[in-house]
Subunit: 324 residues, 5 copies
Amino acid sequence: MHDMVVNCAAYADGCRVSTIAVEDISEALKVPEQFVWVGLHEPDEALLRKIQQEFGLHDLAVEDALRAHQRPKLEEYGDSLFVVLRTAQMQDSRIALGETHIFLGPRYVVSVRHGSSLSYTEVRTRCEATPRLLRKGPAFALYALIDFIVDHFFPVTSALEERLDGLEEEIFGGEANRTTIERIYRLKRDLLILKRAVSPLIDICNRLMRFDRPIIPEDTRPYFRDVYDHVIRINETIDTLRELVTSALEAKLSLVSVGQNDVMKKLAGWAAILAVPTMIAGIYGMNFEFMPELRWRHGYGVVMGGMAALCGFLYWRFKRAGWL
Amino acid sequence: MHDMVVNCAAYADGCRVSTIAVEDISEALKVPEQFVWVGLHEPDEALLRKIQQEFGLHDLAVEDALRAHQRPKLEEYGDSLFVVLRTAQMQDSRIALGETHIFLGPRYVVSVRHGSSLSYTEVRTRCEATPRLLRKGPAFALYALIDFIVDHFFPVTSALEERLDGLEEEIFGGEANRTTIERIYRLKRDLLILKRAVSPLIDICNRLMRFDRPIIPEDTRPYFRDVYDHVIRINETIDTLRELVTSALEAKLSLVSVGQNDVMKKLAGWAAILAVPTMIAGIYGMNFEFMPELRWRHGYGVVMGGMAALCGFLYWRFKRAGWL
Amino acid sequence: MHDMVVNCAAYADGCRVSTIAVEDISEALKVPEQFVWVGLHEPDEALLRKIQQEFGLHDLAVEDALRAHQRPKLEEYGDSLFVVLRTAQMQDSRIALGETHIFLGPRYVVSVRHGSSLSYTEVRTRCEATPRLLRKGPAFALYALIDFIVDHFFPVTSALEERLDGLEEEIFGGEANRTTIERIYRLKRDLLILKRAVSPLIDICNRLMRFDRPIIPEDTRPYFRDVYDHVIRINETIDTLRELVTSALEAKLSLVSVGQNDVMKKLAGWAAILAVPTMIAGIYGMNFEFMPELRWRHGYGVVMGGMAALCGFLYWRFKRAGWL
Amino acid sequence: MHDMVVNCAAYADGCRVSTIAVEDISEALKVPEQFVWVGLHEPDEALLRKIQQEFGLHDLAVEDALRAHQRPKLEEYGDSLFVVLRTAQMQDSRIALGETHIFLGPRYVVSVRHGSSLSYTEVRTRCEATPRLLRKGPAFALYALIDFIVDHFFPVTSALEERLDGLEEEIFGGEANRTTIERIYRLKRDLLILKRAVSPLIDICNRLMRFDRPIIPEDTRPYFRDVYDHVIRINETIDTLRELVTSALEAKLSLVSVGQNDVMKKLAGWAAILAVPTMIAGIYGMNFEFMPELRWRHGYGVVMGGMAALCGFLYWRFKRAGWL
Amino acid sequence: MHDMVVNCAAYADGCRVSTIAVEDISEALKVPEQFVWVGLHEPDEALLRKIQQEFGLHDLAVEDALRAHQRPKLEEYGDSLFVVLRTAQMQDSRIALGETHIFLGPRYVVSVRHGSSLSYTEVRTRCEATPRLLRKGPAFALYALIDFIVDHFFPVTSALEERLDGLEEEIFGGEANRTTIERIYRLKRDLLILKRAVSPLIDICNRLMRFDRPIIPEDTRPYFRDVYDHVIRINETIDTLRELVTSALEAKLSLVSVGQNDVMKKLAGWAAILAVPTMIAGIYGMNFEFMPELRWRHGYGVVMGGMAALCGFLYWRFKRAGWL
């Protein structure tokens, strides 16, 4: 069970009072002015049901937290909140998505991590370093968690921007090949998946920064507005990338067409230059008895010269027309 | 008539009191605190009119239920509701659409199935297993029916996801052929039809979860919010698939162009390699009397060698340029 | 004038009291509880001005009804309504659009038909057959007219669906040709025109079903909601068809590209198979004096065999690569 | 200065009282119940400043009227309105855009024309012909001006419709060439520019027809609703044309692809028909000493017959496959 | 530190009272009716923290101003405003983006410039030249800054319009090549980036022109409406350009296809003209002993004539069909 409970502590006046066991939560809540922050990592049902009992969480929310695979959302259950967030990280140059569920009550905050994501111990440490802010209560812990998750989207979008830059260089640098198209498609797909993870956050943050209930104290709202702003920027970056990828594919397609045209012109040009002497040679290869040219002393030389001249003329014309 | 009436029972305090005949419905409604749940399957007009009389359903709603082929909708008639839903299932790897109409009153719920769809006996059994929840009344039965229908969309979207995965493999694995395009088109069409079945559900569930009338008791609303959430996820999956299918078709088209380019380069390259010796051979096939080379001892060998060298040179150049 | 006045009658308590002449309208309106229903077909200005005087219609509305070529709309003038609707029918497998203008007052309803459209005598007959409903007054006559017009869109969309089915078969059955593209374009155009005729109806019906004035009695509103529902379905069908036509054109384009690729591969393959023996024959057609092979007893046989073998080998390779 | 002041007159009770000089405006305004209508054409700053003083116009509005190149808009300054409109006309089969600025006060209306546009003298004449309507005051003059401007968009859209019809005929009639594409592009561009001129009018007219201030008397609002309706129709026509132009370009592109395919099939077919006898002739042109066929009496005839038969067979096959 | 503080002055009644040091700001604010205008250029943290203390700016806003790379936004902190704007200029025919942050309080305005952008000294000079307007207070300084920034977008959009004109000429003038496509892509990218900088300004200006707090006095609102109008125009120009660039790429693509078709027709035509005599010559190059034509006196002449006639006929047919 140690692996599942990452950390469980009581806080008063912005400072950690004590690290407690799950069993002692109700004890800790008896002390007024104190709130409890629990961090879980892929808990089993037994543990989650226990937590549910301690804090009185709603059935439907707990079931969501158990099953995972939810879309990002913010739900109110009486005076408590249930927030589902998607997390994203780069792992071996692929996007690894995770999920985090947060239960927020007037005197508790519970985070439940699913899938690959960074531990939130760092968030807790940072919060504990600024008791002035943590004093604002569980809502600030919620802000710190969301802020942490949102900030980890930036390296992901940067990685995707680099992939696009690489594709652009390939396309316009002329080294593009079949796999370029596959990679454009994969990038599009990744952007779409990322978009689905990020865009519901806009609405969630927007609602949090306007939330008119005591659970989100008024002086924490500018913080949620700040996160909202980051989300908007990430979302904008994704949209920009999506438009550019689409344009890049179109440009690639156009360049393929132009390239095809060039190849065909070259093919046509050289075919003509080779076909003309072949035809002439065919004519003088005929077996007619009376072909006066065949008896001329310089017939051969003249014909060869004529062929060369014709080919030269064709070469010059095609060159000038930009076909060769 | 047995085939048409799937089940008709009275419930009190969350438990089935008795299975009754259609004729005894009005009797059953006389008992206060009791509600009636009727399940019909493609009823004929006579039966439906009887049901209409028993519960006092509105003319227009009953006509809709008779004719079927409605779009999903939620309509209020006085203090009762009329809900039309589309159902979907995979049958022999094709999507089979059905339709279900639900009449909800303060003390009754009537479901009318049309077309291929699973029986709702399972829903009833599940509800009867949790009397604590069924005690909330007919609205909970409505929730259970909608939830059941919505949950059956998940296997359908999964099947479509698999079809897309298969298409992607074909496209990028190089085995794509003419039927790939037809299958992309069919997938697009199926997604469009599914979208039309699912997207009106968003509005229906949204209205149900905010419904401010006694017919939907307040403590059942979180359940409708839960269904709403599922609908949103299904809808999102469909949208994602639609975007990906479009991108896949574009990628396919680009790959065809690139492939065409490759074929043309190969064609041009080999044509040149074959045309050059043909031309030379033509020249030495001419019948001029004075062609000194023809008399040379090693003329033949030299010309053959020259041809081979030229071809080799061309081969090397085209290879380097990536044409062959 | 007989051609222009289709029918003009007074109704009381849901039953036709008498067929009257235009001149007697004011007389008929003096009887309380009675309303007048006038049906006109492309009236001239004189007649329309007379009608205007009898009912006190607004100048701008009458001018619209005279000029025709309006877009569908619903306008209030004091306590009366002016409705413009587009009608559509299939005529010789082409869509024939018409226009109908309806003036609705507390005690009159006037319909003005323009262009090709079915006569509304049928509507009147049907209304007179259900006095229970016609008793609701002129608003019910308005409903009956709109319902009739909307229901006549269904055969049109069915005809367009069939045209799409035909096109799909052509495209994927391989019989597509140049005119396929023209027919896709024509279908797109027809759908666009139909869309412009139908989509404003959504707003019109929506406003009618929420109309909070005595001119639309409350108990007729469910009927307008019913029409609204039909309009939504027609509109949805048109949208679906529009998306499918666009996809069909894309699929057609992709298939052309794929087909082109196939032709080119075949061309390239056969060209190679023919060019190789031509080159070899050319070589042995050279006139060198010292070509030892030419003197060999079986030279000819060996070369022919070699050619056949080479061609066979090429054929096998191209076949395996799917080029032939 | 005569060129700049087109007309300046005072009106009372719907009739022109007197034509006055700009200097006498303040005098005219002293007479109650009288309003002044000034028409200017590309005025210089001095004149406009004078007008500004007479009517007390706002600085920012006057600066806009001086600089021109504004987008259509409707602005309130205190109890007066400032309206900017774009005008369009066909000139030598090109669209000529102009701009008109209108200042409307409780007792004045000033129109300022920029660029090419018809004179508004006609509007004034028409208004003076219906004193019954002009009696409604300056707001009616505003309506008359906007109506005149909007009505002049109809010939422009008709001209563009004709251009599209011409393009369609070219595309599907098979006479399309390189300039067809350029003309499609130009049409798209013109439609885009026209759209930018027309679409802001929707909002302007919509606001005017709901304007709840005494400057737009209630009985003039139906007139603005009438203009609104025309604007909607023009806008719809433009949208329809835009969609059709896009579809036409797609159709053209598809036809080019299909045409290319046809050419390639023909090329491939004829190439095969010519290459086969060439190969055979090459074989019998070889110089082997022992080629028994060469000595046969009817060898030549047989080979020629065989060639002809092969070519005939190929021709028949390609014909049947639709390649030739 | 001189480089960072561009200018810092106190104003009273629209006139500059004195240029002051950052240290003396609090002193200056003690004088009632006076406001302070500070201009900073890429300040270090120490300076910004000092400014923060003097004016009591919010932590989050100051952090934004330090880190830069924000998206344009307008945030309220108590009775002060924080505005982030993007600036754009052409530098060596490339777009150089910058960022400006403005803090507005009841008695101060602080501008912080980041990246390349023109100095705002010019704005200050212009404001000081019209004390009548500057008297309106810091809000007018804010307007002057935004107006200056917005007006500098016009040359940028003009430069992009010129780039599009150049591309159009290339495309339809026939000089287009591979780099044309790359330049279209770059133009699209630049337009997208510019769009992201401009479009948030619409919302910012819209909110400022309706701002119902004393910090934006009512008589400055028409000025913000004026800026709003400029922003709308810039945004419209960008949208128009975006649509045209997309259309231009499509037109280019179509022209490439048409060009390819032309090349292929030419190729096919000339190939036929050369292949026919080659085949005939091949036939008369066969070595059959009994080929009567070979012995004819005029055999050679007749065959050559026949070849010429055939080629001429083909040339004429292809010419008429528009292939050559």
